[in-house]
Symmetry: C2
DNA sequence: TTGAAAGCGCTAACAA
DNA sequence: TTGTTAGCGCTTTCAA
């Protein structure tokens, strides 16, 4: 292994000079700098991560806690994780992948061992067990997702309240007055996942304003479950003409079942999906949708965390503005 | 921050004793051990990762290189990554998430900086740029996937040749004599992704043995692309009665299009998917499928890498035996 | 603009 | 069974 001392010797300078060339924390003459950089390249030197962490008490690692479950939004999770990793690299950080399995203990472990300088938490629940620890620690942390009480926390998320509202607006403007919402699996609501409830809040509030009726049904992403849900919806509200789907795996079953029932999209019913663009464009009908900006969320989380590591960022909730893209699945509602 | 020295003082022993209690590398009297462990708990001590890595030259970190693209098998990737992370934890390792973005340089960086003790590479291509470096390094490495030349490498993968063969066997036994293979997107074949080509090899070889005709068509996962592909297939081989799909996003379009054409599953055509069980069971028809055992692959990769870190494992290719599950999408072929 | 040297917190010989 | 101590490779203060 090549050490800093070896580089120093090879370049004919002291160890500290090499260190300062690397960190740029002190001005170095051009010639010395060149010589050192030359030696670094020739010897293929890489600073030892452990030694560096020990001496500087900074590991240059950001911990990313992903949820253990893979029952929801998996591609979104993956996209966020990858965006986090690549963005982190552009700032000189590596990413440590932690699963939710360890629970709050993971936060303590990272903090105690100084394994990571900061953390990013995904899939935060409304009343997440890890939050008290996060509030106490002085390690910068950013949440992807929004808990019930974000006081003293930094959060990045899509504005799901506005998302819900936009969906209602769009359907309302098209003339729809009875809307059904196909939601995530019941378990998702039972564990009070923030985005699902906030979407619902946004939907309902706006629906009330417009005098639109809303029916919400959580639903597993299987054909059978969806068939049952759909039957119930049309039983209870035969006049339903607008659908909002927030459940990736329910999208295709919904489209397929509506077709089988002879309901044309968008002539008879309109469908809006809340999902990544990829899902919306690859579906059997090109779906009008509000995009889930996974990459952007990952990127912003890292930017925030890096700012905090530099002592710049302040606690704040950054809600990304939802964008509704009109495609082929929404059209005018019933003539009055 | 609580240090080992503080624990030692609190317990009234020397630093090394605490260290040995932690590592178990030396026998300690029960009473001393108890006292030390008590102190550790009381003080909430966690060993400093940097210091430990520096002193022991082991970071207890495994690097996981995931592909940058998210165009393929995303849920599988995520499942593998999570399995890797959780399995690693059971062995006391953490996981560093690297994207393919850095390319081979990442291997050098990890090696040079001693950031990780070992690496696991996902989505290995047949002639992967990183392989020469992996062969040279003395850091244990395990590939998930199989390159063209696995000499001197340790690999874990599903036996895709056998997978292809099993699909043909099943269809052959049911009486099908003309089979079409809906493959991954053309780009996947162009970059010579091992599993796709190996599946094809297995399919074709077994088909030859049985005297079954095979047509292979790479295909994007959109409805339009699939519609075109399907039309071409039935033009060229009107007698096609068996389908093998190896493309998650093509599954639902395929089922839907076949239905629209009035081809009943499994009465008129049989469909076998090569995909995670979750996809097979959630599709509109419960699909006969060969499962992609993502968790198992991740788990085994970690077990292998940990064995190597202990100086136990040897280079070998571990091919998981594919399992075909008969569900509702395959049935008897045309009467002769 | 550069160098010398004192740690950072831990591990693992070496001693007892 | 336990203690003492010399580093691991780097950062950073202090000195020049």
């Amino acid at each position: 292994m090549v050490t800093l001392a070896e580089v120093a010797h090879h370049a004919g300078v002291s160890a500290s000079t090499v260190s300062y060339v690397l960190s740029g924390k002190r001005s170095i003459s051009a010639s010395t700098k060149d010589r050192v950089e030359q030696s670094i390249r020739e010897l293929g030197y890489h600073p030892n991560a452990g030694a560096r962490a020990l001496a500087s008490s900074r590991s240059n690692i950001i911990a990313l806690m992903v949820p253990l479950r893979t029952d929801m939004y998996v591609p979104v999770m993956m996209e966020i994780a990858i965006a986090v990793a690549t963005t982190a690299r552009t700032h000189g950080y590596d990413v440590l992948l932690l699963t939710g399995e360890e629970g709050p203990e993971a936060v303590r472990r990272i903090e105690g061992s100084a394994l990571a300088d900061a953390m990013i938490l995904m899939d935060v629940e409304l009343d997440d067990e890890r939050l008290p620890l996060i509030r106490e620690t002085d390690r910068p942390a950013v949440l992807i997702g929004l808990p019930a009480d974000p006081t003293g926390l930094t959060c990045v998320d899509l504005d799901f309240v506005a998302t819900g509202a936009q969906c209602v607006d769009h359907l309302f403007e098209l003339g729809h007055r009875e809307i059904a919402v196909i939601g995530e699996a019941p378990a998702v609501y039972e564990r009070h996942t923030g985005f699902a409830e906030r979407t619902l809040d946004g939907l309902r509030a706006r629906a009330r304003e417009h005098g639109v009726r809303v029916l919400h049904r959580p639903c597993e992403g299987t054909y059978d479950a969806l068939a049952a849900t759909l039957a119930r919806i049309f039983d209870e509200r035969p006049g339903t003409t607008g659908f909002v789907v927030q459940n990736e795996s329910a999208v295709e079953p919904l489209l397929s079942l509506l077709r089988r029932q002879g309901r044309a999209i968008p002539e008879d019913v309109s469908v809006i999906a809340i999902c990544p663009d990829q899902v919306a464009t690859q579906a059997s009908v090109r779906l009008t949708s509000v995009a889930i900006p996974a990459q952007e969320m990952g990127r912003q989380a890292v930017e925030q965390v890096v700012a905090k590591l530099r002592g710049q960022g302040a606690d704040e909730v950054a809600l990304l503005v939802p964008e509704l893209t009109v495609r082929a699945s929404s059209g005018p509602g019933p003539a009055k």
